[in-house]
Subunit: 119 residues, 2 copies
DNA sequence: AAACCTTACGGCTTACGTAAGGATA
DNA sequence: TATCCTTACGTAAGCCGTAAGGTTT
């Protein structure tokens, strides 16, 4: 279970289309398909039903979505605590700092998107 | 950020030794060292201080540990909902409730630990 | 044909185990 | 020397983009 898979899951669920989610995340569409396939394999459950208009959550997928969202929030919190969220951090990071902001699920970026962000 | 890295983090923190944690998780000891190194890199923070007797949590590591435990709990819940985590959960186990840390590094199997399956 | 997902394939990257190295006591 | 972590290195597996294939409308 990996961060990018969870993020793909939630993004697809919101967009109801893989190609759009792929675009949002900066991946090719087959890459997103692959990520979901991996997640479905590791959970041994089908998360989406594929339709010609996009995808639709299965019953299992619908049950897991809230947990997936919580997971994303926790990961963001962890990054925020560590100081990763939003700071480029050129060098000399001692790791001892007083980061204690308590924002919530803003700012998904940081180390997420891989490359080629056409905007 | 990957499941195995979080699991390694928590297990090491509990064992206070990498070699023991590696044993518990079914990895070689360098593999665990590598996993933590990856997590530290992705968080841009040192999580442990290495000592000849084992390891000791840094300040950052100590701050992140509770969140890491919650993350593990969420992953276990997700597996449980999907039917991977030992419980088949046919009935109405919807699992929609607040975050609750439960047990941590019990039951790594299912799709997690490589066990004694080298390449 | 258009829209959207999946499969196939080649290539770069990651992850692991074994072996060797380094540091502390 | 004993203990425990890290580095080096070779190999297997993973991940992604491009290209080609399905399926429904």
């Amino acid at each position: 279970m990996q961060e990018r898979e969870i993020r793909a899951f939630v993004t697809i669920a919101d967009a109801r289309r893989m190609d759009r989610a792929a675009q949002q995340l900066g991946y090719s569409q087959p890459a997103i398909s692959y990520q979901i396939k991996c997640l479905e394999k590791s959970l041994r459950t089908k998360l989406f039903e594929r339709t010609p208009e996009g995808v639709r959550l299965t019953d299992s997928g619908r049950r897991m979505l809230p947990t997936a969202r919580e997971m994303l929030a926790l990961m963001e919190r962890m990054k925020r605590i560590s100081g990763v969220g939003g700071n480029t951090g050129v060098g000399g990071n001692t790791g001892i700092d007083g980061v204690a902001s308590e924002l919530d699920h803003l700012l998904s970026e940081g180390a997420g998107a891989p490359s080629s962000t056409p905007r």
